[in-house]
Subunit: 112 residues, 2 copies
């Protein structure tokens, strides 16, 4: 249950990472996607803190996976985005788009 109306900037990236990972979204893979796609190297602890908070707010849900590791390791906790999470993501994006609109014009001297 979140009283805050907006997505934090890192929360946004985590939600997007989960979306693009689909079935394969869990701690390690989410961290890796962030590293691959936007070169953002966050500690795994930092990531889990955010995941926990997103779940508390109802923007994602999780389910423990089978303990089917090939070689050692404990069970994975898979995440997926909720309808509310998608909505939050879209609203944030729309606001950003609205603010960027026309601004481009004033952006002289900086490559877009």
């Amino acid at each position: 249950m979140g009283k805050s109306r907006f997505l934090g900037e890192f929360e946004q990236f985590v939600l997007l990472a989960i979306l693009r990972l689909g079935e394969q979204a869990y701690g390690t893979t989410i961290r890796q996607i962030l590293l691959d796609v936007i070169q953002r190297d966050v500690s795994i602890g930092a990531l889990y803190t955010t995941l926990t908070r997103l779940e508390d707010k109802g923007l994602i849900r999780s389910a423990m996976g089978e303990a089917t590791a090939e070689r050692g390791g404990r069970a994975k906790k898979y995440f997926e985005i909720t309808a509310q999470g998608k909505r939050a993501l879209q609203e944030t994006r729309q606001s950003l788009d609205a603010m960027w609109r026309d601004v481009k014009l004033s952006f002289v001297g900086v490559k877009q």
Copy 2:
């Protein structure tokens, strides 16, 4: 002097508001643009806190305007974005775009 590498979500909106206001960017007008464009109603105190922090980080600069009020009121403090601020804004945007790319496909059932 900012050690944190990323723009906060509200910081981003404030920078964009300043950009689109051009010469006319000061407390009241920035607040109003946020309200008009994205229906975000933030207290004036909250806004100034963020403006101060953005300036400390070198993302914007300010200059006191003449005390040319038509009817009462003190001098305005005008803000403008620095080159560093533009860069930060663009980098944030590029990261967001990169993360959104392809994700659209998995977005079934939600209107874009």
